[in-house]
């Protein structure tokens, strides 16, 4: 008798638990639902204020308009180019640096490391004004390569920090064996350490990619030429002080979200791994 009551109580508690979790999830998803809904409402309906969550007359017109808008495909390609190129460089450069910190003792090791730690706390944006002037001097304004250089430099410290933590957990025996057999540290790095670190590298790549894909303030400051814009700038510029065409804004936003959601959903396990590496090492 008591057993049944307990069982019932347990089921009841589980139900409540799911109810609370699901309600929270609805709150989290709610703004996205409105974004999707609005993107399917045609311009005319936005003005007449089709208030409902379900569009009365759904249409994909906003998506075709957004996609065919002047330069939009260019912006998409710009964003993709900047984000992917930056990821390749930042992963290479940070993992090399992290390897040096994990495996070598050299003069300056501690000062450099602690400088990185200290400056990690200072937001990069503190240097934005001189960065703008520097970019101007070096001819890196209105240049996608200019963005790439600043993006890579900005992400090197954090990625180095994460990867150093990971490299230190790798057993040294394999590397030692290669070194004794006459291999160099370049062999150990490229043929042993990097292949063994695929999960950590994947994590670093994903987080960097998302950061670069979404970056706003540097791109806003550096890019004036319309053809050099990245998606965040392009989307922000779609929204005017008066009379924003929200259907268009959100259709463009949803297109910009496609790579992000693809990366996020397909590579989810690396997300969690990476976040916790930061948490426990940091």
């Amino acid at each position: 008798m008591k057993g049944t009551a307990n069982l019932f109580g347990k089921h009841f508690r589980t139900m409540i638990l799911y109810l609370v979790i699901a309600s929270g999830a609805v709150v989290m998803i709610f703004p996205f639902l409105w974004m999707i809904s609005t993107s399917f409402k045609e311009h005319a309906y936005s003005i007449a204020f089709d208030a409902g969550l379900i569009p009365t007359n759904p249409s994909v017109a906003n998506f075709t308009r957004a996609w065919k808008m002047s330069h939009f495909q260019r912006y998409f390609v710009n964003s993709l180019f900047v984000a992917l190129t930056s990821v390749v460089f930042v992963v290479l450069v940070s993992s090399m640096m992290a390897y040096a910190f994990a495996r070598f003792t050299f003069p300056g090791r501690e000062p450099i490391f602690y400088t990185i730690l200290l400056v990690l706390m200072v937001p990069n944006v503190v240097g934005i004004i001189p960065q703008f002037l520097l970019a101007k001097t070096l001819g890196l304004r209105n240049s996608l390569w200019g963005l790439i250089i600043f993006y890579v430099a900005g992400m090197v410290p954090f990625n180095t920090f994460l990867l150093r933590g990971f490299f230190e957990t790798l057993p040294r025996e394999l590397e030692d064996a290669v070194l004794i057999d006459g291999g160099t540290h370049f062999t150990t790095f490229f043929q042993i350490v990097l292949p063994l670190s695929k999960p950590a590298l994947a994590t670093v790549s994903i987080f960097s990619f998302l950061g670069f894909w979404d970056e706003f303030i540097l791109a806003l400051t550096f890019i004036d030429e319309a053809s050099k814009r990245t998606l965040p700038i392009a989307i922000a510029s779609l929204h005017g002080q008066y009379g924003t065409d929200w259907g268009l804004v959100f259709a463009a936003s949803l297109i910009a979200l496609v790579p992000v959601i693809t990366v996020f959903v397909s590579l989810q396990r690396y997300f969690v791994g990476g976040l916790t590496a930061g948490a426990f090492k940091g």
């Binding site: 638990l17 989290m28 050299f106 706390m121 944006v125 090197v156 922000a236 916790t276």
Partner: protein, 302 residues
């Protein structure tokens, strides 16, 4: 023998520098140098006109910041934003993580949903919140007036200085909860189950188990999350820039949005740099205090 060892040692150091150098140079030239330069600029009335030299003004930019009512308001808004969004994110994230830790089926599904705002760009979610909080025809007003009949007239959220920060706070919390939640969830999974079993045998209530086992064991994670969220909070920019752009009448400026306007609209580069440094000093000081007082020394360092 000794000479061979010295050569090997030099070889070792040389290799180390080859590995360090590319990253270090990028970092020094494009991050550290601009930061140092910003510090220098903050002591100047900086001129961008060629041939017109910048003038050393000492601490004038800083005293100006202390006397500038908008700068003071911006600093206040930044601090209030941090004080509201950081505890908001921490508490909600902890609650969600504790709940999710108790379920088996659907855990990853719900984790994904809660994490979705984190991966969505600040630009998109800022515009989304602006849209939701519009007046009179925003989603929230529509719900409050027409669906739930809680109010008669739509609230002009973004046009009132007293309510314009609400969407910005709301966005800060909504976007960040998932991040802290995933970290907490991972930390919860590292706590040995035996501790809870032992506590249950001793008759400890679930509240007691939370305060005596869960929270103390999560301490390093909680401190890490607190520091990171706080840094993020002081850095609030994109949401303000896109939702209110500091308005109405500069009442919702935060440090970075005000700095941005000063620097890139009024070309007050020296003053902008000083505002950046006020922010940097606040952030580094608070981070250090948090790490110093909340964290045990062995959790830090090489």
């Amino acid at each position: 023998m000794n000479r061979i060892r010295i050569t090997q040692r030099n070889q070792h150091i040389l290799t180390a520098y080859i590995f360090v150098l590319p990253g270090l140079l990028l970092y020094l030239i494009f991050i550290i140098y601009p930061m140092a330069k910003a510090l220098q600029m903050s002591f100047y009335k900086w001129s961008i006109v060629p041939g017109n030299p910048s003038k050393l003004v000492g601490l004038a930019n800083y005293t100006r910041a202390l006397q500038d009512p908008v700068a003071k308001l911006a600093l206040r808004n930044t601090i209030v934003y941090t004080l509201i969004t950081v505890p908001g994110q921490m508490i909600l994230a902890l609650a969600v993580a504790l709940l999710l830790n108790n379920i088996v089926r659907g855990k990853i599904f719900f984790r994904t949903l809660y994490y979705l705002p984190v991966v969505t760009s600040w630009v998109i979610v800022s515009l989304l919140f602006k849209y939701i909080f519009q007046s009179p025809k925003g989603v929230l007003n529509h719900l409050l007036v027409n669906v739930f009949h809680l109010i008669q007239e739509p609230i002009p959220w973004l046009r009132n200085a007293s309510t314009a920060m609400i969407p910005i706070w709301g966005l800060g919390i909504w976007k960040g909860v998932g991040w802290a939640m995933v970290i907490f969830l991972a930390a919860l999974q590292t706590i040995p189950q035996e501790l809870y079993e032992a506590a249950a045998i001793d008759g400890a209530s679930s509240w007691r188990r939370l305060t005596s086992i869960t929270l103390p064991l999560m301490r390093p994670t909680l401190v890490f999350t607190l520091v990171m969220l706080m840094i993020g909070g002081f850095n609030v920019f994109t949401s303000v820039y896109l939702i209110t752009n500091g308005g109405p009448l500069q009442r919702t400026e935060v440090i970075l949005s005000y700095m941005y306007h000063q620097a890139f609209d009024f070309l007050e580069f020296g003053y902008g740099a000083a505002l950046c440094f006020v922010l940097a000093v606040v952030i580094v000081t608070i981070s250090f205090l948090q790490i110093r007082f909340l964290r045990r020394p062995e959790e830090m360092g090489l």
